[in-house]
Symmetry: C2
Subunit: 202 residues, 2 copies
């Protein structure tokens, strides 16, 4: 209450909205709002503009489920991408991470989550039907399941595997092993066992 | 570079601007941007609106130096505030913190920083002249220096003290002592010594 008197409801509302962002609490939202207001021309004005553009332009790609300013997205329409390979990810953030790694030049399919019966998330809540459809209709020869190595992720992976059973497509998954730069001492036994099993020629 | 291809320059620009906010790095800015885009109606749209309002309305109060949507600000024009008392703070954030504490019903004067010869910040870079002017012209009977207990803060406090020498006004400062809820074990010797010296009747 005291806070809302300080500088008018407009600033208070800005702080409250900022506090809803991941990684920002009420305190850091206040600092962020103040920083914006102080650096009005360098920060607040361009940020307000960028958000206005985002509101206007950004949507979900109907083909792969990622977010972009065009529909279909820039990746789906990129002719230089390998059209026969599809990388299945849980979330747009995973897609961005793989693109940053720039290790493969394929197209994607964003599931939008994982199967989780406890949370009431079934196959109909994810973009699985559209994935099967893409594999059935398109010239897809390989589907890479780049899904988190969690229980839910693996459940989802197995479900997709089952659904793809009748379709002529090679299904692969990411390798397990020691992270690059990782120290053995800090790794769990499961990862170490997998890394040993999948050892390669030096 | 790989990143900018992912989802168009508009999203990339939003992420870059968010990463300039205090408390957000490139990684959390990406998470924040994605969260906004996913929750477009609940988060991105209202945030864009709130920022648009902020760009349009928020400015600096010419009397006290705080930020508000009106000029003079809501605090300076509030008739219920004690007109004879002025709290001097370094920054708007400090003003907000004191307002949240709601311990005093006075008006403020925001210096906009501290004297710091090493960083080239002299008296002319701070709102000190306007403070002296307010004390000289207004019916101010007490000036409370709510300035950080750092070397720069104390230098600034002493400088203000000197400048106020000829003016009929009582200058006070915040008490030093044990923070409420604080444990003695974790306090520095300077604070403990001050707390002992300024002990009060139980």
């Amino acid at each position: 209450m005291a806070n809302s008197k300080v500088a008018g409801p407009e600033i208070e509302r800005l702080i409250q909205l900022l506090a809803r962002l991941p990684g920002l609490g009420p305190r850091s939202a206040r600092r962020a709002a103040l920083q914006m207001i102080k650096k009005k021309e360098q920060l607040l004005v361009p940020l307000a503009e960028a958000m206005g553009v985002a509101v206007e332009k950004i949507g979900v790609c109907e083909t792969c489920g990622t977010v972009d300013t065009t529909n279909p997205c820039a990746i789906c329409t990129d002719p230089r991408r390998d059209q026969s390979m599809l990388i299945v990810v849980e979330d747009v953030a995973d897609l961005w991470a793989l693109e940053r790694a720039a290790a493969v030049n394929a197209r994607y399919h964003v599931l939008g989550g994982n199967l989780s019966p406890l949370d009431g998330i079934g196959p109909e809540d994810l973009n699985i039907d559209s994935l099967i459809e893409r594999c059935r209709l398109g010239d897809i020869s390989e589907v890479i399941l780049a899904i988190n190595a969690t229980v839910e992720g693996q459940t989802t992976a197995h479900y997709i595997m089952d659904r793809l059973a009748g379709i002529e497509v090679n299904v692969t998954r990411l390798a397990h092993g020691v992270p690059v730069g990782g120290e053995l001492d800090y790794l769990d036994e499961g990862t170490l066992a997998q890394a040993l099993k999948a050892r390669t020629q030096f």
